[in-house]
């Protein structure tokens, strides 16, 4: 079942095209990664989903309802955590959490206390004295303790320490196990890699890649390190081999995944002693997309 759908959504601010026909679909129970650098349009997309901004073109629906028109209704089943959490400075952290939870109707105090405990959060202080990470905990506790079916998380861990980040990741996994859907926007790629089933990459307001991590990896190259008895002649001319380097009898290169068979067969003739291959990290994918494109544009 589709929980969230963006259908060719565009957003213009004056002359600036913030989003250009963005489409996206989240199925029930999946964790969807949404990655891209600052200013690419992640937060604009999320604000359209939350009904704070009105799309110039296209349609955004959550649970089959219009994100703009039925915002308050939709949000009963939603929980949102922004990257920068701004709360009322003269309320205590505990009060802010209660106020936010209550805005969605009734809530379980037990669950709230449990999450306060897990995040080791001190709810007695005035919100103005909290650090960025602690303010983020307020929003995270209010999100995890609510009865939401969809979690929209916009760089939710940018202020958390590694321990708390771990608690956060546990939380997200628990939500998934409970059959809930998560949209995780982030530029901490290792986090996305660990958690997400599918990923969309946005750049300058356009989705440039989407799919499972495996899908994305197929589009790109493996990093290979090989030691052979004899030096493989003419290897550099083989199709699918890139960035070949030789040092002390070892060669390192990048291999196109769809040429892997031919490359291995070719190398075998020279007596392979050692072979290491590393799948590309999301970061490699990401960098390749961005470096490639921006050098194209500069040229």
């Amino acid at each position: 079942m589709t929980v969230l759908q963006l259908d060719r959504v565009s957003k213009r601010f004056g002359d600036f095209q913030a989003l250009d026909h963005v489409s996206m679909e989240l199925r029930e129970g999946e964790i969807y990664g949404f990655i891209g650098p600052n200013g690419a349009g992640k937060s604009t997309t999320i604000r359209i989903l939350l009904g704070m901004l009105k799309a110039t073109e296209g349609r955004a629906t959550l649970f089959g309802k219009d994100a703009w028109k039925d915002a308050a209704d939709i949000h009963k089943r939603c929980a949102y955590v922004p990257g920068d959490v701004y709360v009322w400075p003269n309320l205590t952290g505990g009060e802010v959490i209660d106020v936010l939870l209550k805005m969605n109707g009734s809530y379980s105090e037990k669950k709230r206390d449990e999450w306060v405990e897990r995040f080791q959060f001190d709810p007695t202080k005035k919100a103005r004295s909290y650090s960025k990470g602690n303010r983020q905990k307020i929003a995270l506790i209010a999100a995890f303790a609510s009865e939401a079916d969809l979690f929209i998380l916009d760089e939710p861990t940018s202020g958390l320490d590694p321990l708390m980040e771990h608690i956060f990741q546990q939380g997200v996994r628990e939500m998934k196990e409970a059959g809930k859907t998560v949209l995780l926007s982030s530029h901490i790629l290792s986090e996305v890699e660990k958690l997400c089933d599918r990923v969309a990459i946005i750049r300058k307001g356009k989705i440039i890649e989407r799919g499972t991590l495996d899908d994305l990896r197929h589009l790109t190259r493996m990093q290979m390190q090989v030691e052979t008895r004899e030096i493989p002649e003419g290897f550099a001319n083989l199709s699918g081999v890139h960035q070949l380097e030789e040092a002390e009898g070892q060669i390192t290169f990048q291999a196109d995944t769809d040429h892997m068979e031919e490359i291995i067969n070719y190398l075998n003739k020279y007596g392979v002693r050692k072979l290491e291959s590393t799948p590309p990290t999301l970061e490699d994918l990401f960098m390749r997309h961005y470096e490639g494109r921006s050098s194209e544009e500069n040229a």
Binding site: M52, L53, D73, H75, D84, W88, T92, D98, L100, K102
Partner: protein, 530 residues
Amino acid sequence: MRKHIKGTGILFPILMRQHRLRLLLWLSGLVLVSCSVAYAYPDLYPDQASREAYSMTMENPAMIAMLGIGYDHYQKIGSLFALEMLLFSAIAVAIMNILLMSKLTRDDEENGILELVQSRSVGRLSYLTASFMVMLSANVLFVILLATAMGFMQIDGFGFSGVVLYSSLLGSFGLLFGTMTAFFAHFSVTSRGTSILGFGALFFFYILRAVGDVEAAFLSWISPLGWLSRAYVFVDNNIFPIGLLLVSSLGLGIIAFILQAKRDIGDGLLPERAGSVRASAFLKTKVGLVIRLQKTMIFIWTIGILLLHIVFALILGDLEAFFLENEAMQAFLTGEGNVMEQFIVLLMAIMTLFITAPVIISFLRLRGEEKSNRTELVFSRAVSRMQLLRAYLVPAILIAILLPILQAFALWSVGTVISEDMMPLGDVMGASVVYIPAVLLVLGLAVLLIGWLPRATSLVWLFLVYGFIVIYLGDILELPDWVINLSVYEHVPVYPSEELSYASLLILSGIGVLLIFIGAWGYKRRDIEG
């Protein structure tokens, strides 16, 4: 020492540029109002008789409590001007300095600007030094501007040395309160707390002087506001109050710098209390949240307005004498009825402006919340645009309705004790509540702006300032009718002097409600910034 103030030379122009617009508006406003009032004074009290009438009212303890000790005689017109203007101008200058200095000190510290600056090769005291230089420049500039402007006007009975002393008194008073705010900035961890301490001190010293001037003179000598009247500016021209102001500024300034050198960044000397772990049932409602966020503001305005009414009620008995013998003051009272009735009608017209202010402040917090990115989290919950707008409208409307009722009670209850021929409660109440539709109309304008021109919401303050100019200075400046009619408040029927016109009240309320709906419609369909 040098290393402690390294970088001040770079910081000073930056801070100056940061605050130049604010300062420009304050300084030109203060100078303009002072000069236009000074210009009108010779016409207000043209002859000896009218001045003597005034001196009679100054025998009333309530007048002394409000304006300070008077002069022995009022042969020079400047003495009357100083009596009515010096104290209140000083308070205005102090407010400017409190706001400016809490921004320059604790606000910049709270927002992390100080930390960023301090991480560079900049002395520990540089930021404070540069802030002081900005505040000092503002006050010096004010003295020069005011003295030059009033000096050039060459009004009879002012005298150049008096003009210079008058301006310098205000400037040094401003300096003292700017310095005091820098001192308070070490105690509170927020700029809000800092300015509240500053305003609190100003209020405390005003009350101290009021009691001192009436009952025990030594109290007035503790209050800087008490020093001002003892300069007998324009008559005796005593300089020693300036000395007192400068020496106490210096003392407080030194302490402020010592504390700056010792205190950890971000730290406050007043301890913070541990708050509650859970929200109360009231706070969990939307209106409850809004009221909770504004309770201090609402409380301070309510107390201030009620106090003013009590003070005015105390002088009601002496009104007759004052107005009857002063032809110029009668310009204010143009309607029908006896003097007390006319005075109460005028008072209510002016107080309505004071009531409009908290109504607008309360509602415009909605825009403030948006600018501080706090509405985002609210709208991400199951809260619709209309629900939040309503949650902000309810307290604003409550203030607009309850304050007029409360103020009528305050004036009437003290008035009946003081004077035998006090107006009946019904008439006082009527004179006050008849303005409610006009206040709602201004609120409607605020809603309209928030819905359609969110960046220009502060424009609504112009209506208030304009209303103030028309009521306070309209007759003195002899403004033409059409200019006066631009003010919303001038369309309210004057009760009980005039026949109560329900039609005009209904029209005002109708426009107000219509504006609220149009504004709400705009708010529903526009993008939310944060």
